[in-house]
C-alpha cells in the first residue's frame, strides 16, 4: 500500500513536470488584457503597402455590470485602428507595438478586402498571412468592398453595435452567399474552379436626424487565380445565384407589358451535363425553379386561369435564362470559372481532364459552349387568387 502510494506520487510529479514543458500552456491572458478583433479590413496604399485596419470593441463602453445602464450616450462601443506594412503581419506587429492590449484574432468573423487590393495583389498573400497563424478563424466571412475596406468597416450603422456585426449579418443573410476564408482558399487551390466573393458597398441614409450608413451587397466579385477580374451585378448576379451550388432564395421583379410582378425565387435545382463534341466541351444546364408571387400590379389577372399562370411562368423562364446566359458570358469573358464547370468536366471525363484540360483550363473555358434551359413552376400565389380591391364589373355595370 505504502509503496503504491509513493509510486503514484512520483507519477503525478512526473506528469505535472512534463505538462509544464508542453507548448501553448503558458499563454495565459486575462480577458482584461486582450483586445478582441471582431473584423478587419485590408487596403493597399499608393506605394503598394498593405493597410490593415482592425475593429476592436471597447468593453468599457458597452454598458457592463458596473453602474448598470446602457452603453453611454454618444460614445461608440468600438474603435478602429489602422496600420501599414510591407506585409500584413508587419502592419499588425507595428500596430501591436503601440497598443496596451494584446490583439487577438480568434474572434475575427469578418474580413473585408478592398477591390483595388483584390485586383492588383490578389487574395493569395492574404490567405498565406491568415492560415499561418492558428489563432485566425478560417470560418470568418470574406467579402470584397467597392472602394476602401476601411471606409466600409467604418460605416455608421445603427441597427447593430458594430459595423462588422452588420456586415456579418448581411453576409449571412439570403442577400449574399456565404463565403468563408476556408472556401476561398479551397477554390483558389482547386483546378477547374475559381473563387467568388460577395461585393459590398456602403449605402447612405440622408434622412435628417437619422443619418446612418448600411452595408449593401451589390453583386459578386469574380476572381481568377485569386485575383479579382470583374464583378457580376444585377441580372448577371442573379444568374450566378441560379448557377451556384449553394442556392439562396431571392426576389426579383419582372415586367409584363405595362405591369410589374414581384416574384420570390424559392428553390432551384441545378443539373449540369457536360459532353464533348468534336473536342469542344459543352455544358447542358437545366434548372428547375419554383417561384411564388409576392405582388402583381395587374388588376385583371386571375390566377385561377391556367393560361395566365403559364404566361407568367414563361416570362420568368425567359428572364432566368437570360440571367444565366449573361452570367456565363461575363464569366467566360473574364475567364473566371467561379461555378466550377471544370469540376463537372472532371467528373464526366476524368482521363481527358487530367491529361489535357486540367493544365490549360484557362484557355479552354472561354471557348466552351453552353445551352441553358429553365423550367419554372409557379407553385404559390399567396393568400388570394385575384386582387381583392378589384371592382366586380359584372355586378356593378
Amino acid at each position: 500500500m505504502r509503496r503504491s502510494w509513493r509510486k503514484s506520487l512520483c507519477l503525478t510529479i512526473v506528469v505535472t513536470c512534463i505538462s509544464m514543458l508542453l507548448t501553448g500552456c503558458w499563454d495565459r491572458r486575462e480577458i482584461n488584457d486582450v483586445a478582441f478583433v471582431l473584423g478587419s479590413g485590408l487596403d493597399i496604399t499608393e506605394d503598394g503597402d498593405f493597410e490593415v485596419s482592425v475593429l476592436i470593441p471597447l468593453p468599457g463602453n458597452m454598458g457592463g455590470a458596473v453602474g448598470g445602464g446602457g452603453g453611454g450616450g454618444g460614445q461608440k462601443p468600438f474603435t478602429i485602428k489602422t496600420s501599414r506594412g510591407k506585409t500584413i503581419k508587419e502592419a499588425i506587429d507595428l500596430l501591436q507595438k503601440s497598443l496596451p492590449r494584446w490583439l487577438y484574432f480568434g474572434h475575427r468573423r469578418v474580413l473585408v478586402i478592398s477591390d483595388r487590393l483584390a485586383q492588383t495583389v490578389g487574395l493569395s498573400p492574404i490567405i498565406d498571412a491568415i492560415t499561418r497563424m492558428p489563432e485566425n478563424r478560417l470560418t470568418a466571412f470574406v467579402a470584397i468592398s467597392k472602394g476602401s475596406a476601411l471606409d466600409v468597416m467604418n460605416a455608421d450603422v445603427r441597427l447593430e453595435r458594430f459595423s462588422v456585426e452588420s456586415i456579418r449579418e448581411v453576409l449571412q443573410s439570403d442577400s449574399s452567399i456565404r463565403v468563408s476564408l476556408k472556401d476561398v482558399a479551397s477554390s483558389i487551390v482547386a483546378a477547374g474552379e475559381d473563387a467568388m466573393l460577395p461585393y459590398l458597398q456602403k449605402k447612405k441614409t440622408n434622412l435628417k436626424g437619422h443619418e446612418s450608413e448600411d452595408i449593401d451587397v451589390i453583386g459578386f466579385a469574380l476572381t481568377h487565380n485569386g485575383v479579382m477580374k470583374t464583378a457580376a451585378k444585377d441580372d448577371a448576379a442573379n444568374g450566378v445565384r441560379l448557377l451556384s451550388n449553394q442556392f439562396r432564395p431571392y426576389r426579383e421583379t419582372i415586367v409584363d407589358g405595362n405591369h410589374a410582378i414581384t416574384i420570390a425565387v424559392n428553390t432551384c435545382k441545378l443539373k449540369v451535363k457536360s459532353t464533348m463534341i468534336d473536342g469542344i466541351a459543352r455544358f447542358d444546364i437545366r434548372t428547375d425553379i419554383q417561384f411564388s408571387i409576392n405582388e402583381d400590379s395587374d388588376l385583371n389577372r386571375n390566377y385561377n386561369d391556367i393560361g395566365q399562370r403559364t404566361h407568367i411562368e414563361k416570362l420568368f423562364e425567359q428572364k432566368a435564362e437570360n440571367d444565366i446566359k449573361k452570367a456565363i458570358a461575363i464569366m467566360q469573358k473574364s475567364d473566371t470559372d467561379v461555378i466550377g464547370f471544370g469540376r463537372y468536366l472532371n467528373r464526366a471525363y476524368p482521363g481527358k481532364w487530367k491529361k489535357e484540360w486540367k493544365s490549360q483550363w484557362e484557355t479552354v473555358f472561354p471557348k466552351c459552349e453552353f445551352t441553358v434551359k429553365v423550367d419554372a413552376d409557379l407553385f404559390r400565389i399567396g393568400m388570394n387568387r385575384e386582387n381583392l380591391a378589384k371592382k366586380d364589373k359584372e355586378e356593378n355595370g
Binding site: W5, T12, V15, T16, S19, L22, C25, D27, R28, R29, E30, I31, N32, V34, F36, L38, P57, P59, G60, M62, G63, G64, A65, V66, Y104, G106, H107, R109, E135, R137
Partner: protein, 503 residues
Amino acid sequence: MRIRSTAKGDGRLDYNAISQLEHLRIENTVKANRKLLEELFENSSDIVIREFQIEHGPKALICFVDGMVTSSMVDDALQALMVFEGGAFTVDAICEQTLPVGQTLQVQFYSELLVNVLSGDCGLFVEGGKTAVCLGLRGGERRSITEPETETVVRGPREGFNERLRTNTALVRSRIKSPRLKMKPFVIGTETNTNVVVTYMAGIANPKLVEEVERRLNAIEIDGILESGYIEELIQDQVMSPFPQIQNTERPDTVAAAVLEGRVAILVDGTPFALVAPFGFWQWLHASEDYYERFIVATLTRMLRMVCLFLALMAPAIYIAVSTYHPEMIPTNLLLSIAASRESIPFPAVVEALIMELSFEALREAGVRLPKTVGQAVSILGALVVGQAAVQAGIVSAAMVIVVSITGIASFTLPRYNAAIAIRLLRFPLMLLASIFGLLGIILGVVAIVSHLSKITSFGIPYVAPASPISASDWKDVLFRAPWSKMKRRPAYLYPQDRTRQK
C-alpha cells in the same frame, strides 16, 4: 475474586480488573452480589440497587439504570414477584411463570449482565440462584420518529431512523416482513459497548460479503463508537480517498431497498445514520424517490444530476480555463458581455473564482452550524453582500457570480451529501489546474479523478461498477431507471445469491 485491589489497599478501584469480568460468575448470595455491584457502581448516582424480600420466599435484588427503564413496568414486575405464593422458588420458575415481562435472559457472568443492565435492562438476583435474570424493560425518553432531514422526498415515506437501535430495526423489519431478514447483533467499543446490528437478507446477500462485513466489524478494537461514522472509517476499503465507500442513510426504506438488492446494512445504536455497503459511484446519482416516481421522470432527474455533477465539479474550472486560455471557445457576443463585466475587475479570473468559491463555502458552513433563526440572516448577508454588493463595487464580475451560483445549485442536486462534499473538495484543485494549464489541466485532473475512481473498491466491489467492469444487464438502473416491470433481476455486480427479483 474481588474488584477492589487488596494489594494497593488504598481503597481505589482497580479498573483493569473490570476487563476480567468475563470470568466473574454470578454469586450465590444476594449479599455477595450486592457488595460487588456497590463496589462496581461506586459514585454512580444513576444506578438503582434495591434489595427486597419476596413474600414466603427468598431474598432478591434488582439493579437497573434510572432513566433507561420503563418505571411502571418495573413496578409491575416487583409487584408480581412480591405476591408470589407457593411452589419451588428457583430462577427458572420465575422466568417461566411469574413475571409479566416479555423478554427475559438468564446470564451466568457479570460481563453479560452489565452490558444488558447498562443498555436499559433490569437485573434480578435471587438468593441461592447461580444465574441472574435480565428483564427486558428498556424504556426511557427518546426522540420520536421524525422526517429525515438530510434526505427529504416529495413522494415517499416520511419516517426516518432515530437514535434508538430497537426503533430502527423495527422500522426496517416493518418494511420487510420476512424471516429471511437477518439482524445479527454485535457489541463494539470496549467502553461504550455500542450495540450494532448487521442486517441483510439471507439467501439474497452474498454470504462472502456478509462474512467480510462481520470480519471487519469484529476486528474493530476502539474504546468508543459514538456515531456510525467511526465504523465507516474503520471498515472502509481505502482510507486515503475523498470518495465515500459506504453509504449512509437516515431512511428505513433506503435500507430496505438496499438489503433487498443484496447489500448489507449496519445499524448503530445512538445515531439515526445507518451504513449501507457496498456503495459505488452511480449511487451518488440515485435518490430513494427515483424508485417511487414514474420511470421517465426518474430517468430525466438522474440525467440532470449527472450534468449537475459535472457542473459542480468543473464549472468554475472551465470558466477559468476558457476565459484565460481559450477565449476563442466562447461565442463572440457572450465573450463581449463577459469582457464588459470583467472590465473593471482588479483580480485575475482564478483569484476571483477562489474568492467567490471560498466565501460561498464559508456561507454554507456557517448556515449549517448556526441556529436556524440566525441561519436566515446569514443567507441574506450572503445574497446581498457577496452577490450584489461585490458586483456593484467592481470586486467580482457578474459572470463569476453566475458561475459560482450555478456550481452551488448543481452541488445541491446530488442526493448523497457525503459524495457532494467530495465533489466540493475536488473543485479547488481543478480550479488551480485550470489556472495553470487551461483545459489541458482540467483534463489532467479529470483523468486523475477517473483513474482513482476506477481503482478504488467498496467491500471488493469496483467503485464504478457496473460501468467498469461492464455488466450490461445492470445498466437498467444506473443512468436510466427502467420501469419496474423490466427490472426482473437484481444487480449482478453485487453477486447476490438469488438474482430473481420478479418472475
